[in-house]
Symmetry: D2
Subunit: 350 residues, 4 copies
């Protein structure tokens, strides 16, 4: 078994419950393709129950596709999407949103306010971008996209999401939630999934399954079903319709049954807390802000970064000069956290 | 266990060997994401060995994506792709190739010749389409795409592929092979995978894993590595890069080890032969041509089609009025074929 | 002055009235850009009066852009457009419609019926294409596009347009009219522009100005203004918004004032009639059908084609083997027709 | 005659020499379409002579199309283009570059250095953006785009362009020059067009004709002809091929003959100098930097802005709060500058 790393929560494998249902789905022999199977129906029903609404659910292969297709369904090529400067759609999808939408521009909010330092978009930033210009030489804002939990390991509160939605509605914008770590956000907030999404004004959620314990797959959840008209065709054309769909949807049954998704997220969050708490007591390590989800962000001396890497640890430097990100996964063991902390202490003492 | 059907070879589940390696890959704990894992390296090495060449391999999620991305890498939006009128890229991908290429037009060859009736493109059809026009109001042909095995259950011979490649090269066109059922074609031909691909002039092969026994995934194989420059970026942007890549690549190890892919294909082909032979002796059923791969095409009276459906059988009518397609899979049991034949006999006798 | 040719009606220059207003527009000195000028307002008002409805009008540079942008505004990338096999959007725009729509497929109607021989789409062909399939692997039909006058020099009657619109509405499709030679069609029909467009069910018309006597420019006319929402942004993004718009719109004033557009079209149609009548009496020349607009289609012996070309005449062969198209323009002189007929007679007698 | 304004240099009409040749081109009667005419040949020869190289020239309708098509020809959808934060392609083309390239992202250089305040991209900013990341989640930089003259009325020196090209070549990037006001830059530099373009490392120039005195039209000039392979097809598909091309190309003859383009630009530049000099002596008006091309940038009190507008003056506020831009055109009369200065003095004294 390989050493557990903190580079990304997608270094983890699939959780046992997901694997169990994947095996069950295979054991059933022949099943209709393209989603007309019992597992797709079942996981979809479970998601509808979870969100307490008759939502439309589409399973796609990964987060880039989920976000890009959702955004493309909300705007035309000459429209724009408002997001934070550190939004994954802006920084890490290689132009995926622009590709799927055939050119919709991403407009990034300012990056100096305290909220922005926490990776959050603010209603004020939305207002500024929308009202800045209204001429036809500027792509008309049509969607607000927020990441929950954020790329900086923080979580929008219910009031924050509501305030963003209120501003979005005021300007006739739709609200998209990139929920690659949606489970971690709900685990932190302790609220219902409905409260932090459609009841707070979210139109479409990309519910991340991969980082939460699936082998592969995300769910695009439309709370406003008028918005998902012909979305099945969009998914097909874009190469995101699994022929043997059950292998994508059945593992979702494993995540959703008995709140495994929530337990997985709570565990990852707890490991991040444990790591954070340990780092607080290491002189020379500066944590940026208390983690609310499953990632810890900290400033380490460059030599310490190099020394940790020399000891075999993998983690990302999100900014040059020692700004480090440590991600915990659904399966991160307390011992792994302790081992990392021990090496960090040794390195800093060294 | 559900009754085995003949609607599509993607009604079948995953073969045991694929599932075994999927489980093994999961058991290893943390692994680097996006393909920097040991299973991706291993399956890629196995594919290079299989094709006897240092090819470039990319794993994507499904056939629409594999074909569309491969074609998009071979042509610009103002170019065109020559294919047969029954090519999957033309009839069943909902405009996927046009979407990924941002507008490359598919030009379909004539559909009246004997070869066309067998689902095949001919060198003559290529020549006609290329020489018909050369003005800038017509998208310049740049690629020839052939499906091996074809959508009509036939297989291009080595000489046929060579003749197509010769014509393609004469007109400076690249050759793409849609190998959704490549394994079935090789099983029929009894040749080496290298002989029917790059040694016969094929530039890029989309090697289908799903219909051959994988849960999900296809491999795009570039024999001419100059053509795959920056293809990794293309895959990422298009939402086809799996973060937990090992779950896509490890099952390939299961297919490739001990020639499982070939055994699976041979079995499916044999079941199609068995079905075809059985149908030959049923009065009123007209088979169209002897199967070379894993599908049987036949003409049934519309009432017989309805009666079979009433008995719970699922299969596609590829043309209105009783033109039926029966597909066999890697796991199709002889008993399932016999049960279908028995019902067919009963219905026709009825 | 160069010899008048019959290759295309866009070999002609601009008519004096268009040039007059172009000069007037220039003489006014500084004018607001991007369409906020008096000429754009004036020509738009004139078009609204001409069509007897408060339509939305956008001026773009050429026919490929007009058609492509109009179609893109009516469908998404995973939708399809139904047209005739000889439609300009299918055969002569180098994949422009697919490019602007990011992949919408064109579905061509059958090409064997008498109507198809005249270049016309039929309600039956629409019905067949729409009802053929409804699965998500097939791009959902969303628009019907007809060319008025057709690419074969014929004109849809009011009843024919109404029947097509009726079928389109039955299947929830929008109706687009490629009116590159709309003026010639109206001249032939003797009806009002409103009768043959929105009163007959047309949603969007691309009204061709270039072939009718403008130096450059077409008008996209939306009769249903709900369909043109944000179309100005689409035009801008697609590089079709003229900064010095008056130079595109002012010449339209010249066309629309005193029915110059209609006179120009009538003249071109009359010249085609004169040419056709003359050709009827030349042995060995087989005219295909009586012209209704400004083009004559005929079959000539290949040697005659070569001989005419050797005499300096330019015209297109629309099919290999001597199928020739002779186009008349707003400025085609009777003497030019007579000169062509004289040479044709000499060549055939030779 | 309308009052001359300072809102944009495209408020001006066409210069007499352009109109003369437009009339001449029309007088010739029938001409082959799509660029096979004598005026297109002639203006292209003149451009080749002007740039002292056998360049490839394509005429398109406007600047958005010129820039977008040029950039799209230099990169694929998963590549990126480096430009300044105030680049027109980034701020004023409504996502045109992303649309034509099907998703190429624009990466903007930093905006705090002195050079950035002058609207210029620096070699250091290029280096930073290229070396920041090299992973596949980030669109690979492929092109550097600079605007000459810049959007802030400044001009890159020969050394500055060479330094940018050197850095671009070091990183294997192509260099695109947005020359919407190329003439004004050359007029300022007093160098040859060749020196500031291909001899300084520029691969493609979009030479702006409209702001320099044409009614409509820009020229895309490829100095490296390998880069323009099949560009004619790209232009056609994108709706940028004029059928009556002579009306776009003949006016270029007027601009190029007797260096009219240079005289027009010198005049506009001189008017900007006159305006700037006058503004220096008006208390309360803060000019930002001395103009090098044809625009003056200044800070005025908001009340003064309102008062000038109330007097009928039109000009853009490029930033909120009184940051104003005053553009001079090829036809701006000294009296118009004096009238504006007089009103400005009155308003500020007020």
């Amino acid at each position: 078994m390989a050493r557990q790393q903190f580079a990304s929560d997608n270094y983890a494998g699939a959780c046992p419950q997901a694997m169990h249902w994947l095996g069950e789905a295979n054991a059933s022999g022949h099943e209709p393709a393209y989603g007309d199977d019992r597992w797709t129906q079942r996981s979809t029903d479970m998601l509808r129950q979870l969100f307490d609404i008759e939502c439309d659910v589409y399973y796609v292969f990964n987060g880039t596709a989920a976000n890009s297709l959702a955004l493309a369904s909300l705007c035309q090529s000459y429209h724009s999407v408002i997001c934070s400067p550190v939004a994954h759609i802006e920084t890490d999808e290689c132009g995926g949103p622009e590709f799927f939408s055939n050119g919709s521009k991403l407009l990034v909010g300012e990056n100096q306010s305290p909220a922005a330092q926490l990776g959050k978009l603010t209603p004020e930033a939305i207002h500024t971008l929308v009202t800045k210009r209204s001429d036809i030489h500027y792509p008309r804002p049509q969607v607000v996209s927020i990441t929950q939990a954020t790329e900086m390991g923080t979580v929008y509160s219910l009031d924050e999401v509501r305030a963003i939605s209120w501003m979005a509605q005021k300007h006739n914008l739709r609200v998209h939630m990139d929920g690659a770590r949606f489970a971690n956000a709900v685990a932190h907030l302790g609220c219902s999934p409905a409260d932090i999404t459609w009841r707070a004004g979210v139109d479409v959620l990309c519910f991340g399954g991969t980082k939460n314990g699936l082998p592969v797959g995300e769910a695009v959840v439309f709370f406003d079903r008028k918005l998902s008209e012909d979305f099945a065709w969009r998914v097909k054309q874009a190469g995101q319709l699994a022929s043997k769909m059950r292998f994508i949807s059945a593992p979702w049954v494993g995540l959703l049954e008995n709140d495994v998704w929530l337990h997985n997220a709570r565990h990852a969050n707890a490991m991040a807390q444990k790591l954070y708490t340990g780092m607080l007591s290491i002189a020379g390590v500066t944590t940026l802000h208390p983690p609310q989800a499953n990632g810890v962000f900290a400033q380490l001396p460059p030599e310490a970064v190099a020394a940790l890497q020399a000891k075999g640890w993998k983690f990302y430097q999100f900014i040059a000069g020692g700004g480090c990100r440590f991600m915990c996964a659904w399966d991160t063991a307390p011992e792994s956290v302790e081992a990392l902390l021990a090496d960090m202490r040794a390195v800093m003492a060294g």
